[in-house]
């Protein structure tokens, strides 16, 4: 398998008020890979996502995506280069319809300006049809769950699990190469969790996305990951196959602590 690194973090650091949240982190995700990031709460997993997507600019190190440095770029530029994410705390456009949520995400790779829209030029109308078709195709990825009458319902009317699905559909509508999924199975029941795990596999095989995923559910991590990276206090403490990482003493220590005393 001749794979090249699609995303590469080189010695990336981030600190908030003197607290090192991510510390000289090296990480790479190869094209077509599914990589899981695990670690206890506060390990810096979501900060890692925020660094990759440009919410924060790293204070040190470089982030390279598809051979190009993206550190310090505006978030929407990074998205347009091909990185899309979902949020741990769902951030849907709640008062817009399900279909509009997905259509909105096509902004980055479409062109019609406001004046062309006012005049409804043929090009604008064609593009609008394409956006709509794209949105419906992305929603169809989830079987019947987000189909039919749901298209025109506001996003707030969706159940929790369907909101998570809609977030993924919205992220894929930006036409990304790399998908960052932040705890896609959080708050789901076992059945839905299993479905999400299958879905992540399907996203790679059918959608062709490379996937970096933060997940707490070890069944999901075990089921989907090519490689697992364990973080604690912003430092990579283990990397490798699920079995290797899960049995790594430092990972066990990070999750459970050493002996009877909690770490200070």
């Amino acid at each position: 398998m001749a794979r090249e690194a699609l995303l590469e973090l080189r010695g990336v650091s981030m600190a908030f008020g003197g607290l090192n949240v991510v510390d000289r982190l090296d990480l790479h995700v190869d094209e077509g890979e599914i990589v899981s990031v695990i670690g206890p709460n506060g390990a810096g997993k979501t900060t890692l996502f925020n660094l990759i997507t440009g919410v924060y600019e790293p204070i040190d190190g470089d982030i390279v995506f598809a051979g190009e440095s993206i550190a310090g770029l505006e978030p929407h530029k990074i998205t347009q280069k091909g990185i899309a994410r979902t949020f741990q705390t769902l951030r849907l456009f709640l008062n817009m319809t399900v279909r509009e949520n997905v259509m909105a995400a096509a902004y980055g790779h479409t062109k019609a300006g406001a004046f062309r829209s006012m005049l409804r030029t043929p090009g604008q109308r064609r593009e609008e049809r394409e956006i709509r078709a794209l949105a419906e195709e992305r929603l169809a990825f989830f079987g019947e769950r987000l189909m039919g009458y749901r298209w025109d319902q506001p996003a707030y009317s969706l159940s929790y699990a369907n909101r998570r699905r809609l977030e993924i559909a919205r992220a894929t509508a930006t036409k990304p190469r790399l998908l960052l999924l932040d705890e896609p199975a959080a708050g789901m029941n076992p059945r839905e969790t299993q479905e999400i795990a299958e879905l992540i596999g399907k996203l790679r095989t059918d959608g062709g996305y490379t996937i970096l995923v933060i997940e707490h559910d070890m069944h999901v991590v075990e089921g989907i990951s090519d490689r697992v990276v364990a973080l604690d206090h912003g430092v990579k403490i283990a990397e490798g196959t699920f079995d290797a990482v899960a049995t790594d003493p430092r990972v066990v220590e990070a999750y459970l602590g050493t002996g009877g005393m909690a770490r200070k």
């Binding site: 709640l94 259509m103 909105a104 829209s117 956006i131 019947e144 479905e195 596999g201």
Partner: protein, 513 residues
């Protein structure tokens, strides 16, 4: 990827016993994964489609009327106003309402779609009006034809909107509101003191740019002038049609923008700026665009307003106007174009109707009645309250007239067919004296008391409170129509917003679920 490895729960009872799952699995075929099966939707989806019964039918019918049909009806009604009404007053109200409708549409872009609290909006309206008065008048002896000056001013408004929108890159919510509010105050200060800017009379100061000396040009298209007044000195209805055409163009253009990627991006920005940015939308640019579009519409509206009035006065562009336009947008439903237009019509027409005590009386009793029906529904309690209030009124009137003739010697203000009934029902003393403030305060106290009690006690207390309300209305409030119309409008606004926080046509807003 094998299913066995993925499914740590398969042997448990969690996934097995769901009814319908087996059939669905059979229909999909054994090899298909469990993705996308939703038994609950399959069973209940159809039931959720809409409400049943008469209400549901009417809702469905109304919802199926296309937007352009509503617009056509509105245009037809406005276009027929000059035909049906000879009165210059009615025509002028129609014109003003169109101006408000345009202002509400522009504000809706910034507030309703962009979600940006722009309290400087009226300044853009003022800039449009002032710019017209400067570019097409004898004030600077520049007489640009309307087809040149108006596009120029719209562009100017858009550019100023961009500049004023710049703080929105770093500010949101109350912070942005206070910055834009300051900009509005700056506009007011400059216009009122602009008669001596380094020796140049820029804005005419507190007198504005008006009168014979300024002689602001009327609108002219291809050399065809639309005089502000007809030969008989009356309001020129051509301005209604100009405003109507502009309204239709702005409405359609904004509607198309709203349903394009730009409009979706604006609304995404309103819902969640961070998520919008993360989904590839340049939110800073979108904020500026929203400001700019709103400002351009306001400036365009300002040109029409200034051309009809043949002048501009700083007093026009003050805070009450800002509040009024905001009330229209909020009442109609921010974000809904039909809503803000409806809000503009309701607020402006209501304010005009309330000027005349006879008309205001109808509004008052209809609103009270509608409020009672909304709260009590068609029930025994409604009958008890209405019957009780009517009987109480006649009883009180009879008793009072026996005690003192002077206590019922007054006559109702205004005209209309209700005056006779009111004269026999409400106690109208020839002069109220100290009873005016006492009854007023008693009414407020009674209303507050109502909110603290419940059940049949509330129903019982409602009857004298309603009668007291009618007493105060007829004796105190109708005697002073000017403050009364704002008080009543405020009461209607509060009631409507409590009943429908999203506005009349606004979509229900959900922040967090």
């Amino acid at each position: 990827m094998s299913d066995d490895r993925l499914d740590p729960y398969d042997s448990g009872s969690l996934s097995a016993p769901l009814p319908g799952a087996a059939e669905a699995a059979a229909a999909e075929g054994a090899t298909s994964p469990a993705v996308g099966r939703d038994e609950w939707v399959a069973r209940h989806g159809a039931n959720l489609a809409g409400r049943g019964g008469i209400v549901g039918t009417i809702q469905a019918r109304l919802a199926s009327v296309p937007w352009w049909a509503w617009l056509a009806v509105l245009v037809a009604i406005v276009a027929l106003i000059p035909v049906g009404f000879e009165s210059g007053y009615v025509r002028r109200v129609a014109f003003d309402t169109l101006i408000y409708m345009l202002l509400a549409l522009g504000l809706n872009v910034v507030v309703g779609w962009g979600g940006l609290l722009d309290l400087g909006y009226i300044a853009f309206y003022g800039i449009g009006a002032y710019a017209y008065a400067m570019l097409s008048s004898s004030h600077f002896d520049v007489h640009l034809p309307s087809l040149v000056s108006i596009p120029l001013i719209v562009a100017l408004g858009a550019v100023v909107g961009l500049l004023i929108g710049l703080p929105s890159w770093r500010l949101s919510g109350d912070y942005l509101a206070i910055v834009t509010l300051f900009f509005f105050q700056l506009f007011i200060t400059i216009t009122t003191n602009g008669d001596d800017v380094f020796g140049i009379d820029l804005t005419g100061g507190s007198n504005g740019i008006s009168g014979v000396a300024a002689s602001v040009d009327p609108l002219s298209f291809f050399g065809w002038e639309l005089p502000q007044l007809t030969d008989a000195g009356a309001f020129n209805v051509a301005y209604i049609y100009v405003a109507l055409v502009v309204f239709v163009i702005v409405f359609v253009a904004l509607r198309f923008v709203n349903l394009s990627r730009t409009g979706r991006a604006w609304r995404s920005l309103r819902e969640d700026p961070l998520a919008a940015e993360m989904m590839g939308m340049p939110i800073n640019w979108l904020k500026l665009m929203a400001f700019s579009f709103g400002a351009a519409v306001a400036a365009l509206t300002g040109t029409i307003f200034a051309s009809l009035n043949a002048g501009v006065f700083p007093n026009t562009f003050q805070f009450p106007l800002l509040i009024t336009v905001y009330a229209m947008v909020i009442l109609g439903g921010a974000g809904s174009m039909g809503g803000v237009v409806l809000g503009a019509i309701i607020v402006n027409v209501l304010l005009e109707v309330l000027r005349e005590p006879g008309d205001a009386r109808y509004v008052f009793y209809v609103v009270v009645l509608a409020g009672l029906v909304a709260v009590l529904r068609f029930s025994v309690r409604l009958v008890v309250v209405l019957g009780g209030t009517i009987l109480l009124g006649f009883a009180v009137h009879v008793i009072t007239s026996v005690v003192s003739d002077r206590a019922v010697a007054g006559s109702p203000a205004g005209g209309g067919f209700l005056t006779g009934a009111v004269d026999r029902w409400v106690v109208l003393p020839d002069s109220l004296g100290a009873w005016a403030p006492i009854s007023y305060v008693a009414l407020v106290a009674a209303v507050l008391l109502l909110t603290t009690i419940s059940g049949w006690w509330r129903i019982a207390a409602l009857v004298p409170t309603l009668y007291l309300g009618a007493f105060v209305w007829e004796n105190v409030m109708l005697a002073k129509p000017e403050p009364t119309r704002y008080i009543l409008l405020g009461a209607i606004l509060v009631t409507l917003m409590v009943a429908r926080p999203a506005g009349i046509l606004g979509e229900r807003r959900v922040e967090i679920v």
